[in-house]
Symmetry: C2
Subunit: 150 residues, 2 copies
Amino acid sequence: MQPSCISISNNMNLKDILENLKERGFRITKSRKFILNQLFNAQKPLSPFDLLNNIGKEENFYPNKTTIYRELNFLEKQKIIKEIHLETEKEKRYEIENETHHHHVVCRGCDKIEDVEIGNELEKKILGKVKNFASLDHSLEFYGMCNSCR
Amino acid sequence: MQPSCISISNNMNLKDILENLKERGFRITKSRKFILNQLFNAQKPLSPFDLLNNIGKEENFYPNKTTIYRELNFLEKQKIIKEIHLETEKEKRYEIENETHHHHVVCRGCDKIEDVEIGNELEKKILGKVKNFASLDHSLEFYGMCNSCR
DNA sequence: CTAGTTGCAAACATTTTGCCACTAG
DNA sequence: CTAGTGGCAAAATGTTTGCAACTAG
């Protein structure tokens, strides 16, 4: 059963998200809660590898690698999480979608990742530079050396 | 023999680049010329897959897959080409480095890729948004539907 | 009960490595 | 001649698939 469309309003918490999924016929499972918990508590976007690594640290529950990948794809399709591509690594990363729009800066030294907000006005100016394309989306990420690494 | 540092000045042509490499102890080989030729003539950044596909179309010369990857890495290290990451695909793409700084817009429909220039002023404003990081670099790519696809 | 979910093994796609042979200069 | 380069097979990495078994509601 795949209900038509989804609209996760901004700033939903973990409980709301799970509730919303349940109403739409999906289940609340351990893996689902595990991944969402991890992403909600992480200070930065997590990769499948990160998640696999964190398995078993909090409770003795050991989901399979396949489950992690499948669940991440599912949550992305539901627009609950979003994919982040960083040039400094080949793995994808994911973060909770329902946050204010932001970008990231990655330290080339220690791989630290911080959020960067550039403001609505600048965002609009940037998008305004592209002509003849509709449904325009964009990715903007920064790479540099943080204070402690240089 | 790996000479210390390189500075490819802007707007070098293929001959200059090869000359520069030769002076620094590297060789002018068929694979090297093949890849650079392809990248110079392409209308968009090329992936290893694209290059492998174009093998044998112009001359009967059949470099190995490994060679393509190795050469791309070499040329990138020499700052002759640069890597482009597009969210719509998992392969890396490469383009000649010595062009004016620009970004890309990718059509989600037909995968067409066009260059986007946003101007020095805006570039500076964007970089100015990141504090406490040095040697700051950034990637900015757009994704949307082109006129013919929507 | 039953559709959604999981585990396992195996397949896949992309990229890298080791090692030896080859070649541009 | 010799360091730089290339070919081949195999490994490594990250992700997906097929299928049968399991489970939340």
